[in-house]
C-alpha cells in the first residue's frame, strides 16, 4: 500500500466519521460545525502522525543492524 492509498483511506475514514457525527448527533448547525471541526482535527492529527512515520521509513538511510545476541 502506497502513501497515497493510505492517505485516501484516512480521508475516507474522516468523511465517514464526520457523516456519523452528523447523523448520530445532529444538534443544530453551530454544534454540527463544532463536531466537524473536532473530527477534522483528529483525522489530520492521526494522518500527520502516520504520514511522518511512513515517510521516514520510505527511503531508509540507516538500516536495522541486529544485536549480537540474536
Amino acid at each position: 500500500m502506497g502513501f497515497l492509498v493510505t492517505t485516501l483511506i484516512f480521508v475516507v475514514i474522516g468523511i465517514i466519521a464526520s457523516l456519523c457525527t452528523r447523523i448520530c448527533c445532529n444538534r443544530g448547525p453551530s454544534t454540527n460545525l463544532f463536531h466537524l471541526t473536532l473530527v477534522i482535527t483528529a483525522t489530520v492529527c492521526c494522518w500527520m502522525m502516520w504520514a511522518i512515520v511512513y515517510l521516514a521509513q520510505m527511503k531508509p538511510l540507516i538500516v536495522p543492524i541486529l544485536s549480537e545476541g540474536e
Partner: protein
C-alpha cells in the same frame, strides 16, 4: 483590539459552538418591591443572569436587606449547631425522601423551638451526667477509704491485743509505772484527728502530697490508693486517671489549709464517716441513686436522639432552603432602591439567548406574587467588556478548564478549547505512545465513566475528584495513546507484526551480515507505524531519535501555524485590519520562511532519501547564504529559494515592528479630530451618551508606550519562534524516555524473571513489573506527559493568538450555592 462588536457573526469562521463565547447583553430589570423576592428566586432557579453590585459603595449594614441577611445567618448558625450535635451523636443527615413544602418563616420559628429544646435537653443531660459522675467518684472513695479504715482498724486491734498481752506477760520493774495512767488518759486527752477523703488526678498526686506535707510541716498523714480504671471527672467530663486519698490532720487550721490545697489541685472531696454501719448505709444509698440516675440519663439520651433523628430527616432540605434564602437576600442587596422606594432596579449580564427565558421568569414571578405591576426588562447599551461565557458540557468542560486555568478568554475571542479537545490528548499521546499502557488508561477511565452516576452523587477526595472531572479528557488521552502506540508499534514495549511482515530481511540466506552490515529493505515500507524489526536492533536509537525529533518539529510547526491562523480569525472577527496586515501576515511569513522551510526540507529529505545535512543547510542559510550548497543540495533552485526566504524573514521583522504603532497613532488622531468637530445635539439623552463617550475616548495615546509594546511583541515573536520550535522537542524527549523506561521494565524485570524458570521468581517478577508499570509509567509518566502537553498548549500554541484577559460569567444560581458558602 479594544473595540468589541457584540453579536457580530463576521470573520472567517461561521458561528461555531464554543469557538466564540456567548454574546452577552447588559440588562436592566425594574422589579416592584412586593415581587422582588419571588423574582430573584425564579431568576436563581434559571441561573442565567449575573447581577452587578449597584451598592458597591455601601457597607453590608447599610443595605436594604441587612436585617433579613442577619436573620438567615442566625438560621444557618442554628443549622450548624444541629449538625455539630448530630455529628457528636453519630447521626448523618439523610436525604429526605419527602420534600415537604415549608415556608421560610415557619422554618425560622421551628428552628428556634428546636434549638431551645435541644439546648435544654443538653443542659439537663449535662447536669445529670455531672451528678452521676460525682456519685461514681463518691462510690469509689467509699470503697477505697473503707478498705483503708478496715485495714487500719485491723492493725490497730492487733497492736492493741499485742500491747495487752505484753502488759499482762511482762509486768516487771521495767514497766513504767505510769503506763496505765498514760493509757487511760490517752483517750480523753487525745487530739481529735480529722480526715478528708477524696480523689486527686494521678498526675498531680505527687505534687499534691509534697505540698500537703510542706504546708502542714509534716503534720499530716496521707494514704493513697490507685483507682485502676480512668474516672470521668464531673467538672470537665473527661476521662482522667485518679487516686483516692485520705488525709489525716489535726486542728482546724490544718484543715483549712488542706481544703485550699485540695481545691487548687482539683481534688474532689467527699464526706466519709468512720462508722461502719453508716458506711454500709452510704454505699447502698449511693448505689441506689446511681442506678436511678442511670435510667434518667438514658431516657434523656433517647429523647435527644429522637429529636436529632427528626432534625436529621429534614436537615438537608432546611439547609438548602436557608442557603437559598440567604443568597436571595444577598442578591437583593445588590439592587438599588428606586427613588420612590416602590421598585428595585437591577442590572446584570445575561447571554442574549436567555432573553426569552428571563422575561418568562419575570412574568411568572409577577403572576405568582399577585403584583399589580409587572417587572420591566430592558437592554442597556454599554462600552464595558461583557463577561465570557461558554456553554460547556461534561465532555468539553475539562478542556475548557485547562484553557481557563491559563486565562479566561477575552469576550468573544477565538477559544483554543475547540482545538485543544483534540490536540491536547494528541500531543499527550505522542509522548505516551504505547498501546498497552493506553488500554490500561482506557480501562481505568471507562470504569469512571460507567459508574458516572454513582460517583457524581458522592463526595470524592481531592485527587479522585480531579480524575473524575477530567474523565473524558483522560478517555481521549487513552484513545490517542492507543493510536500512537500502534504507530510506535509498542505494546508494553513489545512490537507486533500486526499490519504486514517486516519490510527488512537478511541480505542472503546465511544472515551473516545482519549484525554487522544490517538488513536490507526487501518489501514495501511497513504500512502502518514503525517497522517491528527496529526493536532491539543496534540502530534502533539513532533511527527513532531522528524520526521523533523531526516529527516533533513538524507537529510543532503545524500547531504554531494553526495558532497564527487563529490570530487571523480574531483580527477578522474584531474587524481589525491592522492586525491582519501588520501582525498576522509578517508573522506567518517569518515562521514559515524559517521553520516552514525546515519542515519542507525534512519532508524532501525523507521522500528523496537524500544524504544532505539539514543542520548544515539551516545554519549556512544564515551565515553565508550566497555560498554554493554542494552535496547538501536537496532540489534544484534551492539556493534561490533560500535567499528569497531569508529576505522575506528579514523584511518581516520591521514589518511587524514599525507600521502598526504609526497607524494606531494616525487612527487615534483621526478619531479625535473628527470627534471635536461633530455638532452637539440638544437632546438630553444624546448629551448624556456623548458625555459617556467622551470620558471613554479621552484616554491619552502614548506613542512611546505603544511602540515599546510593539517592540516587545515583535522580539517575543521572533525569539519565540525559535525557542518554541525547540520547545516542541520535548515531544521527542518524553516519548524516548517513556519507551526506554518501559523496555527496561520489560527486559530487566519480566524477561529476567522468566529466564530463571522458577515459578516463585516469576511471580515476584510479575508483581514488581506490574507495580513499576503502574507506579512509574501509568502514574508518573502520565502526569509528566500531561504537564508537558499543557505547557505546549499554554505557551507555544496560545501565545500566538490568545489574549486571555477576560473574566468569567458567574450567573446567580442556586445550583452551586451548595458548596460555595462553606
Amino acid at each position: 483590539m479594544g473595540e468589541v462588536r457584540a453579536g457580530g457573526g463576521g470573520g472567517c469562521c461561521p458561528p461555531m459552538n464554543l469557538f466564540r463565547s456567548e454574546s452577552m447583553q447588559l440588562v436592566q430589570l425594574i422589579i416592584p418591591m412586593e415581587s422582588a423576592h419571588v423574582t430573584v428566586s425564579y431568576l436563581g432557579d434559571l441561573g442565567l443572569l449575573q447581577f452587578k453590585d449597584l451598592n458597591a459603595d455601601k457597607s453590608p449594614f447599610q443595605r436594604t436587606y441587612a436585617a433579613q441577611i442577619k436573620k438567615s445567618g442566625e438560621m444557618a448558625r442554628r443549622l450548624r449547631f444541629f449538625k455539630d450535635q448530630m455529628l457528636k451523636a453519630g447521626f448523618s443527615p439523610k436525604k429526605s425522601a419527602t420534600q415537604a413544602d415549608i415556608n421560610i418563616d415557619d422554618l425560622e420559628v421551628k428552628l428556634a423551638e428546636l434549638e431551645t429544646e435541644l439546648v435544654e435537653i443538653n443542659a439537663n443531660g449535662g447536669k445529670l451526667q455531672r451528678a452521676y459522675n460525682e456519685l461514681v467518684e463518691y462510690k469509689l472513695v467509699l470503697q477505697k477509704a473503707s478498705e483503708f479504715f478496715h485495714s487500719a482498724l485491723n492493725s490497730a486491734a492487733e497492736q492493741q491485743s499485742e500491747n495487752a498481752s505484753r502488759q499482762i506477760g511482762e509486768e516487771s520493774l521495767d514497766t513504767p509505772l505510769l503506763l496505765e495512767q498514760e493509757m487511760s488518759t490517752d483517750s480523753s486527752k487525745q487530739v481529735k484527728l480529722g480526715f478528708i477523703t477524696g480523689l486527686v488526678p494521678r498526675q498531680k498526686s505527687m505534687a499534691f502530697e509534697r505540698i500537703l506535707f510542706r504546708a502542714t510541716r509534716g503534720n499530716v498523714f496521707l494514704r493513697e490508693a490507685v483507682v485502676e480504671d480512668p474516672v470521668t471527672d464531673p467538672i470537665s467530663g473527661e476521662k482522667v486517671e485518679k487516686n483516692v486519698f485520705v488525709v489525716f490532720y489535726s486542728g482546724e487550721r490544718a484543715k483549712n489549709k488542706i481544703l485550699k490545697i485540695c481545691e487548687a489541685f482539683g481534688a474532689n472531696r467527699y464526706p466519709f464517716s468512720e462508722d461502719l454501719n453508716k458506711q454500709d448505709h452510704m454505699v447502698t444509698e449511693v448505689s441506689g441513686r446511681l442506678s436511678e440516675l442511670k435510667t434518667t440519663i438514658d431516657v434523656g439520651l433517647l429523647q435527644r436522639d429522637n429529636l436529632l433523628q427528626t432534625i436529621g430527616d429534614q436537615f438537608e432540605q432546611w439547609e438548602f432552603l436557608v442557603r437559598k434564602e440567604k443568597s436571595i437576600y444577598h442578591t437583593l442587596n445588590m439592587l438599588s432602591l428606586d427613588v420612590t422606594k416602590k421598585c428595585l432596579v437591577a442590572e446584570g449580564w445575561s447571554p442574549v439567548f436567555a432573553t426569552k427565558l428571563i422575561q418568562d421568569a419575570l412574568q411568572r414571578a409577577s403572576f405568582d406574587s399577585n403584583s399589580q405591576v409587572g417587572a420591566i426588562f430592558q437592554i442597556l447599551q454599554t462600552k464595558e467588556l461583557p463577561p465570557t461565557y461558554f456553554r460547556t458540557n461534561k465532555f468539553t468542560s475539562p478542556f475548557q478548564e485547562i484553557v481557563d486555568a491559563y486565562g479566561v478568554a477575552k469576550y468573544q475571542e477565538a477559544n483554543p478549547t475547540v482545538y485543544t479537545i483534540v490536540t491536547f490528548p494528541f500531543l499527550f499521546a505522542v509522548m505516551f505512545g504505547d498501546w498497552g499502557h493506553g488500554i490500561c488508561l482506557l480501562l481505568a477511565t471507562l470504569y469512571l465513566i460507567i459508574r458516572e452516576k454513582k460517583f457524581s452523587s458522592q463526595k470524592l477526595g481531592d485527587i479522585m475528584e480531579m480524575m473524575f472531572g477530567g474523565r473524558y479528557c483522560i478517555l481521549m488521552m487513552a484513545l490517542f495513546s492507543i493510536y500512537t502506540g500502534l504507530i510506535y508499534n509498542e505494546f508494553f514495549s513489545v512490537p507486533f507484526e500486526l499490519f504486514a511482515p517486516s519490510a527488512y530481511a537478511c541480505r542472503d540466506l546465511s544472515c551473516r551480515d545482519s549484525t554487522t552490515m544490517g538488513l536490507i529493505k526487501v518489501r514495501d515500507t511497513y504500512p502502518f507505524g514503525v517497522d517491528p524489526v527496529w526493536h532491539g536492533s543496534r540502530s534502533e536509537l539513532p533511527f527513532l531519535n531522528s524520526l521523533k525529533m523531526k516529527m516533533s518539529i513538524l507537529l510543532g510547526v503545524a500547531q504554531m501555524n494553526l495558532g497564527i491562523i487563529l490570530s487571523y480569525c480574531n483580527a477578522k472577527f474584531f474587524r481589525n485590519g491592522v492586525n491582519v496586515w501588520f501582525q498576522f501576515i509578517p508573522q506567518i511569513i517569518f515562521l514559515n520562511s524559517l521553520f516552514g522551510y525546515l519542515s519542507l526540507l525534512i519532508l524532501v529529505k525523507w521522500s528523496t532519501g537524500s544524504q544532505a545535512d539539514l543542520y548544515h543547510v539551516m545554519i549556512y542559510m544564515f551565515l553565508s547564504p550566497t555560498d554554493d550548497l554542494g552535496e547538501n543540495q536537496l532540489f534544484p533552485g534551492q539556493k534561490t529559494l533560500q535567499l528569497a526566504l531569508l529576505l522575506l524573514a528579514l523584511v518581516a521583522v520591521p514589518w511587524m515592528l514599525i507600521p502598526k504603532p504609526f497607524i494606531l497613532k494616525k487612527q487615534h488622531q483621526d478619531r479625535h479630530r473628527g470627534h471635536s468637530y461633530t455638532p452637539l445635539e440638544s437632546s438630553e439623552d444624546n448629551f448624556q451618551l456623548g458625555a459617556n463617550h467622551d470620558s471613554h475616548d479621552h484616554e491619552e495615546f502614548e506613542f512611546s508606550e505603544v511602540f515599546v509594546h510593539q517592540l516587545i511583541h515583535t522580539i517575543e515573536f521572533v525569539l519565540g519562534s525559535v525557542s518554541n520550535t525547540a520547545s516542541y522537542l520535548r515531544l521527542w524527549a518524553l516519548s524516548l524516555a517513556h519507551s526506554e523506561l518501559s523496555s527496561v521494565f520489560y527486559d530487566k524485570l519480566l524477561m529476567l524473571a522468566w529466564g530463571y524458570n522458577n515459578v516463585i521468581i516469576l511471580i515476584v517478577g510479575i508483581i514488581v513489573f506490574i507495580c513499576a508499570t503502574v507506579g512509574v509509567l501509568l502514574v508518573m509518566e502520565t502526569l509528566s506527559a500531561f504537564l508537558h502537553a499543557l505547557r505546549l498548549h499554554w505557551v507555544e500554541f496560545q501565545n500566538k493568538f490568545y489574549e486571555g484577559d477576560g473574566y468569567k460569567f458567574y450567573p446567580f444560581s442556586f445550583a452551586w450555592t451548595g458548596d460555595e458558602d462553606e
